[in-house]
Point group: D3
Chain length 341, copies 6
């Protein structure tokens, strides 16, 4: 079989740490193009991995006609670039949040369908071994029904992580649209939907810029969620956990409690009402500081090669995004929002 | 000095575990009356500590004319009994929540003022050594401003704790009015107001009965709070933490994180951005299973003897209650509620 | 339903610590007779639990006509008493080892069948929570095939445990027939057969009296087992583990290792080739010093009430015994013995 | 004094990790020749350390006339090369197992004697600090007599360790003759003989190829040993401990238990009947993954320089080998073998 | 053999916690008399153990003519009572410090010799298992020469421990003569002399009453010692270790360090220059709070029965006392004192 | 602002590990000269950092006219070089001990004053984070008065640390004048003065050369100190802590104990009489093996730039030195020395 010809659009941190190295290690893939308005960044990867460098993605689509693309640009560009790529016949892996409005997300799904290409959203939290193990345990039924939960994702903010530091697009609201909520919150709305195999029915939220300077991007959000099953819980996203970085989820269930990511050694701990405690060392949850394999690229490539549904479909990405958008709406309107999915 | 003559109204678990033994150990106090509709309960304490037993508290007030009373009855009786006791010239220590409506709370404060008696509310969380230490540290300014927080109180429910087990008044909504929120949530609204020296400005909540059978009392609540300072956070109360019992508070601040009650050994842990970690072993936080001294009775007695303002005034109790009442209103109306205090 | 009328034959340590208290706590059982040649022992239990005391079990069978009996006497009496009880129409729970020869075991099974009564053997190791958890994991297939194993049971000997101390029948070879092998080894042959769902095909053993004084009962045995599946391993029984008491089993499998009872906290630890480690706190394995519920009596009673096959049938007990008897034969003949089951 | 001129015959892993570097660091030694049929391997060491490279060891003996040689070739070559080297006047350090039959071992001893050269066998386990400490404690008498023991050596097999991976001679039965038993089992027969200062009197064993593919070399052995002192125990060798790698020995004695190599921190732990526990951190036991100094080369060189008996004589190596050979005979004949030494 | 008839003179804490119970458990002893000016205390023990009660010890000696006595009175009485008891033909076990001047100690030794009775001093530290183990290790020579050391004994003072609390004779300088130095310091001078098998040659000290109220008894002493071997070190005694209670000794030697009593689990820890660490769990060192067997009474009785030299002779007690007396002299004179023994 | 032109006199270990790198990292400093009699050492730093190399410091002063110098030479040169540098108009940072007699120290202070330059002494222990935290706690008053203390500094000696190993000037008494006392003891006299904000009033000491070969430099000292406040304690310096390296201080106070540097994780541990325990992780105390930033250079530079008093003045250095000199005098005279400051 000939190799899948892949282009990466946007050469910032997420491309650098995950997409490019994971494509490079994938024996079914040939990296054929890198796109970045800062052409030097694109050129550097072309030098390293072969392929061509472009400053403009449309030019690239025309010139290279890639089989597939990764969209790793600021949030406000996701929809347009995805749709244009689909029109150019390329399968698309788009970073989260997949879009900045629900309408955009719908249009992206439509474009993929119309052009008969795969559309996958980069929700990598699902694939982390602790989350895989947690879902496996939940599916056995041993925990009974989930009653209430807490899921949170907080770190010191993209200042340190982004290639551009404090000048990162994350802090330019017109490009990021969403701050910590788009960066971290959407990971957790996706995770909780997937873990509980349930949909969010209502959301209320306080979202604000509490500490980051010279930005209107939200740096903190405290949300409450009600699920269709009746379970209720809290979802927190923060860019101001300067210490006490956290990416954990705790589920209190009919038969006991499940803690995910609360202990550095035992990533999943189950404590049951009958007194038994089970602890699972599955490998760590990826954080800003530890960039483990995301599995996202691998699964995207597999879905193309085997012509199967992507591991995270556009519909899934849209539903997870909707929760976050409705949280913003709650903040704006002072109302609890009923999530329409 | 002659001893303070105290009567205890309501002889259930809170009277048994805290009020009666703490009065009995207080050398400034003489226990003169015990009141309970189940007269045997009252009689048993009278036999043990001296004093008289009554089934009716008004009868007691008339017969005994106590200097002070503790009101340890179901929530719906707090206001009436407090007001009548005040009218009878007795200082009043009322259990939390001090009342079931804001109007009741206002009337209680008024009655105490009019009759020139002390009114104190039993918010013992403030006096727990870990919380005292936490406040002391916050007041030094070392943490900087609190940005976001999480405070939660969950246990398996009053079924096991109450004298009456699953038949407890806690499960009769007409008597309890509030379930886990009145039992646990109000502790945390009081704690967060006191710790941060701040008032809640907005609240939204999901409150419901998710697992307890044959009751309409709420067994779970997930709330979000915005403080006047701008800090936001989550407040959780639950009677269905069958495992994973929790009474912890975490504050993420400008200069680092403070964890209270998250570790069985080090009750307060401060981790600062400069890399230093300070840990404090102050003694444990009281839980259902470990009934440590509440300090509440001692402070109530002191305020009478020294004629000083009680450690938790009626105004404080009212403000903490208002947060909970507004959470119920949020649940009822689907709106974020602006807290008027 | 009227209660099951049960008699206990033999009132030594195993009756005292397990059978009598477990029957006494079982609401479906009425203890109607206690038998012991030391009549005072029998009388003491009759005083405590009701029922009659007898020195002679045949007399008891005739007088009381119990629905069921527990046979808790020295090994050499198990067969005769079981057969007579069956003939008297009583279901029988016989302690391990069920008999001292294979012929006896066969006759016991036959007698139960002929008289249409249940016959169960007291192999309680199967029911210990760690072993239940271990089998549950093995059955998922996650470990792959078991390749090699080590199972051992050692303690300081029955001197301390038995009611009669160093005068215990365990040290009189004419009554015990088997020493550590009958006391401990047969537990492990039963456990390994059950855990692996496999039969022993060959055994070789060194059995001897290495340290206990004034006895010919074996106090140590080192055995090797080959299973029908091809797995090989070691089985050890010892009454001279004066320190380093051990009741553990380790299974090295195609996909990793499973350790059972090697850690005081995590009773089952699974370590897989993919690097994950799972630890299970299921509650402890019972030892001489910690007499936890054996579950044996409960399961025996259930099988009678529900008319189901006992949890450990006579056939199972016979097969586990055969391994031990063949170990003795190996010691006697200097040959590896092919186990005929 | 002029330096000892040493040649290394066989340049595989054991030469690479132990013999060559340990000779190289020994100031009394000059490495003068390296022999390997894969001449490039030999040449590489000659380039690095000086000396000449040969494909044929006889050619080397003739050309170089070394003072001493290390024989690091596949097992089936040990005897012939040792004898030829002795005839050429070279002292010989031969890797374990020293030979593949007892007759070969006898001939090697004879040849060394006849040619007046030293013959030492590479049983390095004796020199590991934990084993030295264990023997020192046993010799004080504090443990009393050893009653029963367990000694085992298991790792994932030579696939990963050997220079040739799965193509290693270890898997070619015609060259290795013995698999895990020759690689690991003979270490443990040597260790137990030396630690207990005792000889094996009887052995029975199950030996087989349970999991390794495309080989007839044994990958597992479960053995029982009876010592002349009467102590009995188990000896296990395995190439299929894919996890749970183990090189431990436990001795249950009259006065308590000694654990060697069971804890990553405290390599020797003694627990006595009087309740005292002594723990010794002596440095680790060498495993496949951690190649610590073997001390073997140093002691071989010392014995030549000082003209003393080598630390592990041919007779010692022969006795340790005999136990393993008899284990194979037990497997072949279905009999317990009386070890003739 | 008839039993040894023993009288206890002084019924305070040391008699209560050690002497009386240890005599009572000794099958060779009959307690025949108890003496205390508070006659009720004496009478209580007579009631419990048999024998007679006396307020005056001379009366007792005349009336009872005991075979042996324990002198458990305030320090200033030790000499007189010992001498009188010896004259009355009784063997004497005297508590430490044996006397309050060197002349007294000499007279006591003389009296015992003249009357042919045993004289033993209650220096129990020597017999503590950690100290026994430490001396055993030192005697093997593994540590090499001791170069420098630190030995200290501090607790919150006798206020809590003594039967009379803050009214204890320990705080009346005219009765105690020495405070913390007589109570604790003399233990450590005895221990260091015995452990190192060496004599103190020079001492300097600061001794004072730093915190205890209404007493002139010293509550703290910091001393430096030079031994005849040349080793130097510090000796500290304190009654004001309100937290951080300590009874530890650390020896830095030519070959490494030995820590005694610094760890709650491993009472003796040896760390050698070659990197090995040995840890010994021998059982704890007795403290005020944990009164373990002192072994003192047992050894005193043995020396009488077997007619052997007592385990701590009068000469030993005198030499240990001399160090303390010279420390006081250093404080008084501002000089380093050369210890004459 | 133009940069501070700094010269380093003496290029041994302390210059290498602390002064030179800390100047090099300081953006306000330009390294302009390096002086060492071994000119190669000086040249090497000149090559690396720019500036000139000199063998003679006077030549350097004349040629370079530095703004400031660090004096990092053997002790006997400190005074002369400091005075000459001051005369040349250079601010001086001199290593500890600042001089070898009190008269020298006085002259140095005088010279700095006369020439209007800063004089700072390199007592870096004050700046270690654990000591800063300890002083901060002491200043809150929470500990109450310090009653007694222990402070010690011991390591295996300068043999390993010094550039010249066993040939180091530390072992040449004519150059070092003081051994362990000058190297380590003066750190601790400075620390205890500063921590307690108190002066030493009396000192006695045993100082000697107990183990180091071919040197008359003291390798051990055991001292007792009395402070003006009345507190007493021990101060120990040792070059023969071959294992058990120690740089800890323990303060027993009216309200509890403070341990500094006794635990590898929690550098400061406070345990109070009320039962609370506070632990502080401030970062480690620097040892020979871990050379953390000393903060000394930074503070010296700051005092020049801001024209403020240096963090450790000449007067402070002189007072700390005086304690050590008086300890030597105590050793010489056999007297307790009253410290005149």
């Amino acid at each position: 079989m000939s190799k899948l010809r892949v282009a990466v659009i946007g050469c910032g941190s997420i491309a650098k740490h995950r997409h490019i190295p994971e494509y490079a290690e994938n024996s079914n893939v040939e990296l054929v193009a890198f796109v970045d308005p800062v052409i030097e960044r694109a050129q550097q990867y072309a030098n390293e991995h072969g392929g061509q460098a472009f400053a403009d993605y449309k030019e690239m689509l025309a010139a290279v006609k890639p089989d597939a693309v990764s969209v790793c640009t600021p949030n406000y560009l996701h929809a347009e670039q995805t749709i244009e790529s689909a029109k150019a016949g390329a399968h698309v892996l788009v970073e989260k949040p997949m879009a900045v409005t629900d309408e955009e997300a719908a249009a992206m799904i439509e474009a993929a369908k119309a052009n008969n290409v795969k559309l996958m959203v980069g929700h990598n939290q699902r694939f982390m071994p602790p989350h895989q193990k947690a879902k496996e345990i939940l599916q056995t039924g041993v925990m009974g029904k989930v009653l209430t939960f807490r899921t949170s994702f907080g770190h010191p903010g993209p200042d340190a992580w982004s290639i551009d530091g404090a000048d990162s697009w994350f802090f330019r609201k017109e490009e990021a649209i969403m701050g910590a909520m788009g960066d971290l919150g959407v990971h957790k709305s996706d995770l909780i939907r997937w873990l509980l195999d349930d949909e969010v029915s209502e959301v209320a939220a306080f979202v604000g810029t509490l500490d980051k300077k010279d930005t209107e991007s939200d740096d903190n959000a405290s949300c409450i969620l009600r699920m269709q099953s009746g379970a209720i819980g809290t979802l927190v996203a923060s860019w101001t956990y300067y210490k006490g970085e956290d990416n954990s989820t705790v589920l209190w269930c009919e038969n006991g409690v499940m803690r995910i990511g609360t202990d550095p050694v035992d990533q999943v701990i189950v404590e049951l009402r009958d007194g038994t405690i089970n602890k699972y060392q599955t490998g760590e949850i990826s954080t800003n500081e530890k960039q483990l394999s995301s599995f996202v690229v691998e699964k995207f490539v597999d879905s193309i090669i085997n012509d199967t549904e992507p591991a995270v479909t556009g519909e899934e990405g849209r539903a997870s995004l909707k929760v976050i958008l409705d949280a913003f709406e709650s903040q704006a309107t002072g109302k609890v929002i009923k999530v329409q999915s």
